[in-house]
């Protein structure tokens, strides 16, 4: 499975970060990108810009900033949040996390927790079917329309079109127009008569 998973580790201690990375590497997750972050502001700006799949964070790092606020700002709504607990914390702080890893967990426990979440994430990505808007856009793309033309036709901003297109690529793992055409014909979104270059 060619899924790129992006995992962020947000923790200010370099010793703990390095340890987590070493354990994650033992998991043999193909195509996973692991990013270490030590500063909370850095993390906030990253989550607002990039689509990440999993965040392993020390709950104390965010300070007064709550998990709900962080979830609102992140562009990936399906991101999994794992609390990295290294001290005694109030239960209410931890309740909204998808998983909790304690500093005293064994390697096996950590592996199991992370693996379970990865399976969830992967099946979410795989099962995600196309929205009707995305299907409309695929048809426009294979007809050879530019992003600007598609935006005008559907009364959307170019920015929105670009983000739809990137979602389509993630869901289908198809990067070329010729590939999308095959997909569209199989799924009866279009017939070849409608596409000029195939005439």
């Amino acid at each position: 499975m060619n899924l790129h998973l992006k995992i962020i580790i947000a923790e200010s201690s370099v010793i703990i970060r390095t340890g987590i990375v070493a354990i994650l590497q033992q998991l043999n997750i193909n195509h996973a990108g692991i990013l270490e972050i030590e500063d909370f502001e850095q993390l906030r700006s990253l989550l607002g810009r990039q689509k990440c799949d999993m965040l392993i964070i020390n709950p104390l790092m965010s300070g007064v900033f709550s998990l709900q606020q962080m979830k609102k700002e992140a562009i990936n709504n399906d991101m999994k949040y794992i609390a990295l607990q290294n001290s005694l914390l109030d239960r209410s702080v931890l309740k909204n996390y998808d998983e909790i890893i304690s500093l005293y967990d064994s390697v096996e426990q950590i592996k199991e927790k992370v693996n379970n979440l990865i399976t969830l994430t992967k099946s979410a990505i795989n099962k995600a079917s196309l929205t009707s808007r995305e299907k409309e856009i695929i048809v426009c793309v294979i007809k050879g329309m530019t992003n600007k033309q598609i935006a005008d036709e559907l009364c959307l901003s170019i920015h929105t079109i670009i983000s739809h297109r990137s979602n389509i690529t993630t869901k289908l793992q198809i990067h070329s127009t010729a590939g999308l055409t095959i997909f569209a014909i199989v799924n009866k979104l279009v017939t070849l008569d409608e596409i000029k270059k195939y005439q």
């Binding site: 060619n2 793992q173 198809i174 990067h175 070329s176 010729a178 590939g179 055409t181 095959i182 997909f183 014909i185 199989v186 017939t191 070849l192 195939y198």
Partner: protein, 235 residues
């Protein structure tokens, strides 16, 4: 730094053993235009019989087998004209033989009656083939002439290998995507013909990846070194 493994095969090993134990090495032979029927001759002897530089031959074979290069002989001992001959023949193999052959098999394997879909499938494949041709003809027309002129101290061509490094892309990626699309979306009976063409595509993907590896891991470093040597002499 950990020391990389030196090549698995050496000059003194028997050529027939190499091929019997690793049949993909056959492709390396044919690209150097080496004849089969080598009895019990060693790799070095067969290379000498066919006027092929043994070290270059071994570097490619060992890259194919271990996906590793020996840094000691990677840059210094390669005979660049041999390497160019290999790459040139390899280009010919893909463009004139391998890809047209796959296209023919693909055409025959497609289910009759799926007119639109088959047209779209062949369109994708043809578009891919023309990209590969463009990619390879750029190397033939721009990169190789530059390297030859560099070796012969001939006419100065305004180019450097850095330009090549920047734009050299993985040409097998789109073939991988094609194969994935066929497997996921092309609903068909599982016939011998479709199996056959898919096996061919899997193999071709590997061949293309090796071809790229030879360019990126052997050819490019050798040219970088050559450029350094030449510019050093002038100054």
């Amino acid at each position: 730094m950990t020391k990389l493994k030196t090549g698995k095969y050496k000059e003194s090993h028997s050529m027939s053993n190499l091929i019997c134990q690793n049949y993909p090495a056959l492709l390396v032979l044919s690209r150097f235009g080496m004849k089969l029927g080598f009895k019990d001759k060693s790799i070095a002897e067969v290379c000498a019989d066919n006027n092929v530089d043994t070290k270059t031959f071994l570097a490619i074979v060992n890259l194919l087998l271990c996906d590793e290069i020996n840094p000691d002989n990677a840059n210094h001992d390669l005979f660049i004209p041999s390497l160019i001959l290999y790459l040139h023949n390899s280009h010919g193999y893909f463009v004139n033989y391998r890809l047209p052959d796959i296209r023919e098999k693909l055409k025959n394997a497609l289910t009759q009656g799926l007119k639109d879909l088959n047209k779209a499938v062949l369109y994708y494949f043809d578009e891919y083939v023309s990209e590969v041709s463009k990619h390879m003809s750029y190397e033939e027309k721009t990169v190789f002439p530059y390297v030859r002129s560099l070796i012969e101290n001939g006419k100065k061509i305004k180019y450097n290998i850095g330009i090549f490094i920047k734009q050299h892309n993985q040409i097998e990626a789109k073939l991988t995507e094609f194969k994935n699309i066929m497997i996921k979306y092309y609903e068909t009976e599982s016939t011998n013909e479709i199996d056959n063409v898919l096996f061919d595509i899997f193999n071709c993907e590997n061949d293309l990846a090796l071809h790229n590896a030879v360019e990126d891991k052997l050819f490019v470093p050798a040219i970088v070194e050559l450029e350094l040597k030449k510019s050093g002499k002038k100054s």
